[in-house]
């Protein structure tokens, strides 16, 4: 098929798809609903698809020979760049609150929560190669553990945090048992179901969880016993340091709490990779049968991966509960699992830096895109764009989805897809992603 014909075909598919979705708009007029046509917006999109397809085809047509060596060079280059990017990111993360902007700190807290979840899931999906579509279940278990313990038994955040991690870890092991023998699609389905079961139990067990109404008045964390309350005085952060109480102090404190928790997750997973347990997880991802022939207890190894991943999900959940001060089953829907999994896959399974970058792009980027689009919309005064200028911010999800598709086309194994060996006789050499298995569950 010639590229031109292929591009025309893609454009035709785009027309069929976007014609009704973008080209037709229902407006409520005097006589009920009426249809309004938007040919220009449709034409723009179809044109973009046409050009995009041509671009992709010509880029492929250049006869890129993907050899192992060039890919390893790329993996090595990225790993080198990573040595600089990681400290820069860390410094930026520590310095962020000094901007003093509540908006940025809040956004940073959100991004860090997802980075932590991504790193936690990375243990299960990236290292052990077990596809988990129900990760939100452990997030929920952690959140509800903290919420219930603190409101029922009046325990503080720092007492409940390890308990929440423990409970979530146990939930992970509990999920692990029935899915031990499952692989691939079947594993994905059962984990997906597990996520839904937890959410539905939370919704319906009204006597314990207060059902869909959720739990309110979850206490905030304290800094060595100092509360962040607005009245100031004895026993509060502002009173102790003799400064004016302000909400931003608590927001910044929460930001640093999640930063420390996320870094802890990162440190533990980096360390785990270098001890036999982590190596066994990766071996399991590469070849389960070979593992068994070497006397590795596959069952226990899988369970520890589930438990460890779930524990970090639970810790993040406890943080989520204390930050929101209110939780309900609404917050723990499948879309959360999907987002976290997308972060791990987009970042490159098994890569810590990749996951962090992907979380910044997925969560931070989406927010930034909203601002950029509304800014662009304001700039468009031409009558040609009158149809879409006002609604430009609504296209944010569409553009975002497109960016994800393009990224996966360009780097199918994620942003950072190579693997760094855990031990070496000489110098550590990056391993190209083509050789690294992705796990079959």
């Amino acid at each position: 098929m010639t590229p031109l014909r292929d591009a025309f075909l893609s454009a035709a598919v785009a027309l069929g798809l976007f014609g009704p979705m973008v080209g037709l708009l229902t407006v409520s007029g005097e006589h009920g609903l009426s249809l309004e046509l938007r040919p220009i917006a449709t034409a723009v999109i179809v044109g973009l698809v046409f050009l995009g397809r041509l671009l992709v085809l010509s880029w492929r047509g250049r006869g890129r020979v993907e050899t192992y060596k060039t890919n390893r060079a790329l993996a090595e280059g990225i790993a080198h760049a990573g040595k600089f990017i990681a400290p820069v990111l860390l410094v930026a993360a520590v310095a962020l609150p000094f901007t003093g902007s509540r908006y940025y700190v809040d956004l940073g807290t959100l991004v860090l929560t997802y980075i932590m979840l991504g790193w936690g899931l990375n243990i299960v999906v990236g290292l052990a190669g077990l596809l988990d579509l129900g990760y939100v279940a452990f997030y929920a278990v952690g959140a509800y553990s903290y919420a219930l313990l603190s409101t029922t038994y009046d325990l503080g955040f720092w007492t409940c945090l390890p308990l929440a991690g423990l409970f979530a870890g146990c939930a992970g092991v509990m999920l692990g048992f029935p899915v031990l023998r499952l692989r691939g699609d079947y594993l994905a389905i059962v984990t997906l179901a597990f996520g839904e079961i937890i959410r539905i139990v939370l919704t319906n067990w009204v006597s314990l969880t207060n059902g869909p109404n959720g739990i309110t008045g979850i206490p905030r964390p304290t800094l060595f016993g100092l509360r962040f309350s607005m009245e100031g005085g004895e026993g509060t952060f502002a009173g102790f340091f003799g400064i004016e109480p302000a909400t931003i102090q608590r927001v910044i404190f929460l930001y640093y709490v999640i930063l420390v928790l996320a870094l802890l997750t990162n440190w533990v997973s980096l360390r785990l990779r270098r001890i036999p347990l982590g190596r066994a997880w990766e071996a399991l991802r590469e070849d389960e049968i070979a593992c068994r022939s070497l006397g590795i207890n596959v069952r226990n190894t899988k369970l520890t991966a589930f438990g460890m991943g779930a524990m970090f999900g639970g810790l993040a959940g406890a943080f989520f509960a204390t930050r929101q001060a209110f939780i309900s089953p609404e917050s723990f829907t499948f879309i959360e699992s999907a987002t976290v999994l997308a972060i791990v896959v987009l970042g490159g399974m098994g890569s810590q830096l990749g996951v962090a970058l992907a979380a910044i792009v997925m969560v931070g980027g989406l927010e930034t895109l909203r601002d950029v689009l509304s800014f662009l919309g304001d700039q468009m005064n031409s009558p040609l764009f009158a149809g879409i200028a006002g609604q430009l911010p609504l296209y944010r999800m569409l553009i975002f989805g497109l960016v994800l598709v393009v990224m996966m086309v360009l780097r199918p194994r994620g942003l950072i897809s190579g693997r760094t060996p855990t031990v070496a006789l000489g110098a550590r050499k990056e391993i190209a992603a083509e050789l690294v298995a992705q796990g079959r569950g």
Binding site: L294, G295, R419, P421, L435
Partner: protein, 266 residues
Amino acid sequence: MLAVSNLVMRFGGLRAVDGLSFEARAGDITAVIGPNGAGKTTVFNCITGFYRPTAGAITLTHRNGEKFPLHRMPGHRIATEAKVARTFQNIRLFAGMTVLENLLVAQHNKLMAATGLGVLAMLGLGRYRSAEAAGIRKARHWLDAIGLTERADDPAGALPYGAQRRLEIARAMCIDPVLLCLDEPAAGLNPRESEELNRLLLRIRDQGCSLLLIEHDMGVVMRISDHIVVLDHGRKISDGTPAEVRADAAVIAAYLGEGEDDEVEA
């Protein structure tokens, strides 16, 4: 040391192994040969715990007299306690891990015991450091033996085919087996590599590890085996030294008179 008695393995209506009995003596290289579909790999899978036999017993006796009923033990304990290692017909290395990592994963249980439930090793405390150093020394020993020290930090999947075969044997040897089961180790090797393999296998035997191998390459089998068991249709049709087996009329008939069936895969 390995006694297989009345082994039966049924897959639905198919009797892949039908009342097989043989013995492999300590310090010997015992070869199991037979036409395609004779049930060789199935026997291997029963011995190494990948299949649970329908009937019969497989008993391994260590030099100290300790007995292990392999037909009843869970798969991973056959490697850790009974010390039976194996390789696979279609090479199963950890392709995305380096050669050295492959050999360290093989020492998982020994290294794991030194990590103090993982916590101490994570903090860099305890005796894990020295345990890992010992593990790397052992890995080096085997890398030297198979001539892959130079490529220790390369991913296993990037090695040439013959080197992958040798690495798989070295990896199996890293669990310190008393019995090493090799499933067609010479398949796909050129004559020179095949010769190197022979030397490696003889060296392993001379170190006191018994070998059990499935092989199609009669050159390898006749040259290095001490004892040959011939299977056909899941039954033993001959058993003896290479010279005896070569002269056996039943063996000649089985090899010349049978069509090709599909091997029962691992």
